[in-house]
Point group: C2
Chain length 316, copies 2
Amino acid sequence: MNIGLDMMGGDYAPLEAVKGLSLFLSQGGAGKNITLYLFGDASQLEPMLREHDVPAGKYVVVHASQVIEMHEHPTKAFKEKRSSSIALGFHYLSNGQTDAFISAGNTGAMMVGALFSIKAIEGILRPTISTIIPKENGQTGLLLDVGLNADCKPENLNQFALLGSLYAQHILNIHNPRVGLINIGEEEGKGNILTQAAYKMLKSNSQINFTGNIEGRDVFFDKADVMVCEGFTGNIILKLAESIFDITQSKHIEHPYFERFNFENYGGTPVLGISSPVIIGHGISHAKAFMNMIGLAVKMQESDLMEKMQSSLTLL
Amino acid sequence: MNIGLDMMGGDYAPLEAVKGLSLFLSQGGAGKNITLYLFGDASQLEPMLREHDVPAGKYVVVHASQVIEMHEHPTKAFKEKRSSSIALGFHYLSNGQTDAFISAGNTGAMMVGALFSIKAIEGILRPTISTIIPKENGQTGLLLDVGLNADCKPENLNQFALLGSLYAQHILNIHNPRVGLINIGEEEGKGNILTQAAYKMLKSNSQINFTGNIEGRDVFFDKADVMVCEGFTGNIILKLAESIFDITQSKHIEHPYFERFNFENYGGTPVLGISSPVIIGHGISHAKAFMNMIGLAVKMQESDLMEKMQSSLTLL
């Protein structure tokens, strides 16, 4: 398996990316038949990789003479900086030279690459991105979409439910995941035009375990494993949850529950609905986040997640 | 001024309503020329009012032989229980026998009454309900709509902005309140179809101090005084905020900031956009909440808020 990793993306690149790679290999990754394709400035990377004792046989450095900076316009930068680590990473992925691509760099450019250079799974109307939601009882939920699709149709939500359900099952190891619809009001028939129509589609989708509406008050409680909404609401919830962590930090409110709102812990989020694993990391990713992202890409490949999504979609 | 109060609404009625009335009068209310119209079971109320030394000259008991219970279907109950405290309260208000009406009872029935028996302010497309948002720096913001209007047009949001702005100015005493649009992304042009169009209307509305988009991460920060959205997103934010309070309570996480998430402190929420003050309390309202709601109704009348809203609307 060949995993592509952008070494120049994120606030602490390339050092934390190198450390994360080293961690991944030393914690079991070296025993697997995996080659890492490292996209970045070779003159910076090579001494750093040696310094951190990354075994030479486990990686290939692909020199990238450019970097897409965090503030750059995604579409413009992706188009113009063809020698950037992100553009090259997608080039290798779309050619089949790698099986997955990971970056903590410019999120918009990652989206552009994922949506325009990688094929969508056949039948997918809109790819989606998700986030992990820490439940107050210690469990973990998945919320999607969290911002890629600001306006949705009911059939988009139905596909997100299926993609999220398969992800929860095969990656988060949740058996028969409960799928909930983010809504206002508990009963069927409540909500806005979109959720009223989506409720009916989810209810008749035999490939998911739909358990009904999830109100704002239920998001942090263990009422559903997969929570579905359009990207506007999902993005508001995600950023609100992130701000709760920031507030508890700045006010020195310490509690293990709020510590789980530190989204840095979770590595990155995969773009779901495309044919290869593309994982987008937080700009502030440290070594642990890079390690987790590499592990996630490997797990997505090993579990044949994309093929499973493809087969389910043909039944939808 | 004649203020109507449903004595049978809420989990702790009528006792907490009587106590709240008593508090209101003893803390300055008795000095004002106000008569309270108390709707409820006279045989229960009269001894209770005497017991709590409520001065006989300050109130009129209007006997209501029925109560709309919390679980009842709002429209049906409002229509059929004509002798209920809520139906009678609205009857007096629409007749002009009272100037305001307050209840902590069945929220849906209160909405039905407010929307169908009280005139909307001329030009208002959709009345709205709001909530107070505690800001992490100690300030207080207003969020609207929080659930009355699940689907909105840009012109609804523009009216909510104006109503919220006048409320913030005259009731919350915020000078030149900053109005923000709840959105995903910071810059103009970001968001979904609704917020993209609403942004333009808000920007060209000369009667408000529009300061741009408010992301999920900004809701609890002091970036805007009035935050505008459709009722779907607003309701999700409101209930999520309520659940944060519940979680901190159940986990014994004590901090003055989270204490401000106890929505019981705030009394109730007024229906904005109708021609008389109608205030809807939380089911769990205690004496302090009832006192605050009476005070709010009085302030809304004394400040001529509804007339100010009417004049502003003619300029919109």
